[in-house]
Symmetry: C2
Subunit: 248 residues, 2 copies
């Protein structure tokens, strides 16, 4: 059993440190990431147990934490938690994990993101990748940070399972011998296209699409036909439609 | 040409009134809705011209407003606009439109939403409907208001084109002779299903799915097969995948 009496309060210095990890440069420097919310934290304790750095909890949540994490658990008041939380809605716990070490991307099926900016879109694409069994994402360096709090929240646990590589996209694509499919407005109907098992699927920025230097590296532009009047599809929903066609 | 000198400043009373429309009960009572942001406002002026009630703009945006709307346009300072805006990111203009009158739902293909709560999901589903040429949505009465600011923002103009009916869902479905397909976790593979042109597609709440009394009215439960480890799909991405299969 979790011995509540042996759990220490989180010091002001440590509170400040957890809060400092809201900034990308700080979490990058320490190779850490922060997870908030009961469900995601408990999932992390389950699949990333050995990577837990510190677990911050309000008293009322302590009993849900497996006792093996007691030595790494510290309590805060609800008010203190609000102050170190990055999310608007109040949570019960925050966990800091060490990031997994990334090896180079493999030659499996890969989703490439070119300049995606919205954290909700990135998180939703990670969740989709996790549903469809995609093994990795490769992103341009200006794509939103996958360890952004809103990305982690909307990824619904996918952040624990899908490695996200930030690379010089043009160099990565140039050096890859995999066939490259890109979501474009003027491509071939995506349903009339054959996709090899090890395809690369390239999705562009929300407003600007795929940038010209990346577009030049696409072998097969594909398009989702439009039947109505909307100007475009949201990038996460377009990714969903393409994945459902490619992976079946 | 738009004569800037003839544009009046928006009175404090009118500012308070526009702000009051952030509350559903107030915009419902007057059958109005509020649109923010350059692109959406200009699209509304184009397709909903006769429904414009009032247009609020900062000085710098006046020149982009077609002169026919001069008598309905009022200026505010940037600070005043921030105070009456519902969005975090600053905008240049706010338009108030009268809602279109709704007739009863037709017997065409229909998306039914049972208790969708997240405005971003609702807006994204509207945008999808607009892309796929869907003519109407029917929602349970506890589904998020389609005139919520975040719904309108993420609908990207679809709110002008897609009628959204809020009805007693159980009664609507019971009285409809159309075939009813519902996204469930234990249904038939959605790709091995034939959909008539006038199908009804039912999507459930983000956390709880379709509620039991509605599930009982589904003729054909359909499921998107999972290849990875995610627990579920986001409802907007699931809608995207199903629409791309049904409408082609």
């Amino acid at each position: 059993m979790f011995d509540k009496k042996r759990v220490e309060a989180l010091s002001k210095g440590k509170q400040k440190w957890v809060r400092s990890l809201q900034l990308k440069k700080n979490r990058d420097a320490e190779a850490l990431f922060v997870v908030e919310g009961e469900k995601s934290v408990l999932e992390g304790l389950s699949v990333f147990a050995s990577r837990l750095e510190i677990l911050v909890s309000i008293d009322a949540f302590l009993q849900q934490i497996p006792s093996q994490f007691q030595s790494k658990t510290f309590t805060v008041t609800t008010k203190e938690l609000e102050q170190i939380s990055e999310l608007k809605t109040p949570n019960k716990c925050i966990a800091v994990f060490r990031r997994p070490e990334l090896s180079l991307p493999t030659n499996e099926f890969t989703i490439v993101l070119d300049g995606i900016q919205d954290p909700g879109n990135m998180g939703t694409i990670l969740r989709l990748a996790d549903w469809f069994g995609v093994k990795q994402l490769v992103c341009s360096k200006d794509t939103v940070d996958c360890y952004n709090a809103k990305v982690i929240q909307s990824s619904m646990g996918a952040i624990y399972r899908i490695p996200v590589h930030y690379l010089d996209l043009a160099a990565y694509l140039t050096n890859s011998s995999q066939q490259k499919f890109g979501a474009m407005l003027n491509g071939k109907n995506y349903k009339q296209t054959a996709y090899p098992k090890d395809a690369i699927l390239i999705m562009g920025n929300e407003g600007k699409g795929v940038r010209p230097e990346i577009e030049a590296l696409i072998d097969f532009p594909v398009t989702i036909p439009r039947f109505g009047e909307a100007e475009s599809l949201n990038v996460a929903t377009a990714t969903a439609i393409l994945l459902a066609e490619i992976i079946q």
